[in-house]
């Protein structure tokens, strides 16, 4: 437990203080991605992640939902970046990421696929990127919420911790009631099902407010920063959660 806590603290420190020896691009990206944890995600238990780290020194993560685009920043792809960030921070732990997103997929279809992928891969943590396609396709928020809740419950019942990842925003986002309703539905499901929810919209709004144009060079705040920040923010949310939930219960052996 102490080792885990120390690892989590190390990861937080790593994300906030820029690792020594990192590439310039990494430094630039990390420096512009840091967001206060309370703007990122509310704490929630990750009992299966904790058990995996304790028992196996191996963490299996499944990523599903909408794919994350490719940013202009570091050349590492999102899953590779996330894997290396987590491995660098949690020394001695082998992080295995199975990346299974499908473009254009709404929650209803990805929930169906998620069940199969979870049953095949048996991950400890499911990172489910949700909301963007449903908002764009005008899927009624009620049915979105129902499908999401059902999927989250199924994953939890089958021994998988869940991290919901919301969709990013930029100052030009078509922020109408539909989009807001989808975000609120995601937040509600996360709160009621007690799972982690990475509020990328809030995180990116924070960055948009706090970062000046000078810090970002000549470019205006754009969506690709969201992609570059994705791995850092997911890792930060996980690390912060491990620290905050240090008294969490460890599930019984299956």
């Amino acid at each position: 437990m102490i080792a885990l806590l120390a690892s989590a603290l190390l990861l937080s420190a790593l994300l906030i203080s820029i690792p020594a020896g990192a590439q310039d691009a990494d430094v630039k990206t990390a420096s512009r991605c840091v967001v206060p944890t309370e703007s990122l995600a509310a704490p929630a238990p990750l009992p299966h992640v904790a058990a995996a780290l304790k028992q196996r020194d191996k963490l299996n993560i499944l990523i599903i939902g909408s794919p994350v685009g490719v940013g202009r920043g570091p050349r590492k792809s999102y899953p590779v970046a996330l894997e290396s960030l987590l491995e660098r921070a949690i020394a001695g732990v082998d992080v295995v990421i199975l990346n299974r997103p499908v473009s254009g997929e709404t929650v209803a279809t990805s929930a169906e696929r998620m069940r199969t992928e979870v049953a095949l891969a048996r991950p400890d943590l499911l990172i489910w990127q949700v909301g963007a396609n449903d908002a764009l396709a005008r899927v009624p928020p009620g049915s979105y919420e129902e499908d999401l809740r059902e999927g989250v419950r199924w994953a939890k019942d089958n021994g998988v911790d869940v991290l919901l990842v919301g969709f990013e925003a930029n100052p030009w986002l078509h922020d109408d009631q539909e989009v807001l309703a989808v975000r609120e539905a995601t937040s509600r499901v996360a709160r009621q099902e007690n799972v982690l929810y990475l509020r990328r919209y809030d995180a990116m709004q924070f960055l948009a407010r706090t970062r000046s144009r000078i810090e970002q060079g000549d470019e205006a705040f754009s969506a690709d920063i969201g992609y570059d920040c994705m791995a850092e923010q997911v890792a930060q949310a996980l690390a912060a959660n491990m620290v905050l939930r240090r008294t969490r219960p460890v599930p019984a052996d299956p």
Partner: protein, 367 residues
């Protein structure tokens, strides 16, 4: 142009259904047959693609093997060009929507962001078919299947008995191991695993071959008809009850027992075959009772590649229209009407062009 027939009709029907299914949220999707079935229009489309490969192979029966290979490879290349063309049109449509609506957020639609954020790698991925936009993932499967066309044609000519066991073995291995192709630069997997979907393609090819359905005895056909009717009913009941087997409760290898689309699980394949068998005779009744419908769908089916391309782009426009107008039902009606008309016009123009070219050739030919 050939007269309306069952194959063209059902192909046209599959194309129309794909168009509706590719506008997620549209009010008419609840009338799509996937709501009442374990399989959907993708299986029907791929099965009928296998059937049409059989017709091409049959038409080249007397030709040397090299001509067969050349013709089938050419067909695969045409489909590949079509995929590239519609992908670039789709990118332009997404970019135009983002520009005119002043909403750069739309650039992220359907995985398109990599084109704008990382054009260097994205363009390599597009040409290699490793980077696919959402809902533009059937043609890459079709390209792979048709690329195997020359091999299929050669095996069919030299050792036809090998085709089914080879295809079945690849299918079983791929379903058992979740064998699929990866996407890049946006990491993920192909939505349709070509190694699994080749099975229903080959079944379409074989069932319309010399030892196929036509060679079955009337008694066998009657038994198959009633069995497929039963399967259609069971599948509809399962779909209407919204039942899907819980993968966690199933034995390994799980993909054999779930209703997975990416790996085209056996339940979907069996159900698709049952639908084909049960409804294959329905065309004669449709021709009798609704001749315009039979003509319209057959016309779409005769020009399937052009219609498919137009349908993919029209469905993307439909998605944008729904986005702009907040998914109102009036817009859904308009999207459907424009789609029905657009697909019909594209098919009609393709045939008009061909008729015109034939007439010109006739006039030029010496008497």
């Amino acid at each position: 142009m050939r007269a309306p027939n069952a194959i063209d009709f059902w192909r046209g029907f599959a194309l129309m259904t794909i168009f509706v299914n590719h506008v997620p949220g549209i009010v008419f999707e609840r009338f799509s047959f996937r709501e009442y079935s374990l399989s959907d229009s993708a299986e029907l489309f791929v099965f009928l693609a296998g059937v049409s490969l059989r017709f091409v192979v049959n038409s080249l029966k007397g030709e040397p093997l090299s001509a067969l290979v050349y013709r089938l490879a050419g067909r695969a290349l045409t489909i590949y060009y079509a995929q590239l063309l519609i992908t670039f049109f789709a990118i332009a449509i997404i970019a135009s929507a983002a520009t005119f609506l002043d909403q750069p957020y739309i650039l992220q639609w359907h995985n398109a962001s990599a084109v704008f954020d990382d054009p260097v790698e994205a363009h390599i991925g597009l040409v290699l078919l490793r980077y696919q936009l959402g809902y533009f993932n059937i043609l890459p499967l079709y390209v792979v299947l048709m690329s195997a066309g020359p091999t299929i044609g050669v095996i069919d000519r030299l050792a036809p008995k090998l085709l089914l066991p080879l295809s079945a073995a690849l299918y079983v291995y791929s379903v058992a191991t979740a064998f699929n192709l990866h996407t890049w630069p946006v990491e993920g997997n192909w939505f349709f695993s070509p190694f699994c979907w080749q099975f229903i393609f080959i079944l379409g090819f074989l069932l319309f071959g010399p030892k196929g359905y036509a060679s079955f005895s009337p008694r066998t056909k009657t038994i198959l008809f009633w069995l497929s009717g039963l399967q259609t009913l069971i599948g509809a009941t399962i779909a209407l009850a919204d039942f899907t087997p819980d993968p966690a409760m199933l034995p390994d290898p799980k993909l054999f027992f779930v209703f997975d689309k990416t790996f085209d699980s056996p339940a979907r394949v069996i159900h698709a075959l049952a639908l084909v068998c049960f409804f294959s005779g329905a065309f004669s009744r449709i021709v009798r009772w609704a001749p315009p419908l039979a003509s319209y769908f057959s016309m779409l089916g005769r020009n399937s590649l052009h219609v498919f391309c137009a349908g993919s782009l029209l469905s993307l426009c439909g998605q944008i229209a729904r986005y702009i107008f907040n998914g109102r039902w009036e817009i859904d009606v308009l999207v459907l009407l424009v789609g029905l008309t657009g697909l019909g016009v594209v098919a009609w123009m393709s045939e008009w062009r061909r008729r015109h070219a034939d007439l010109r050739a006739l006039r030029k030919s010496p008497v």
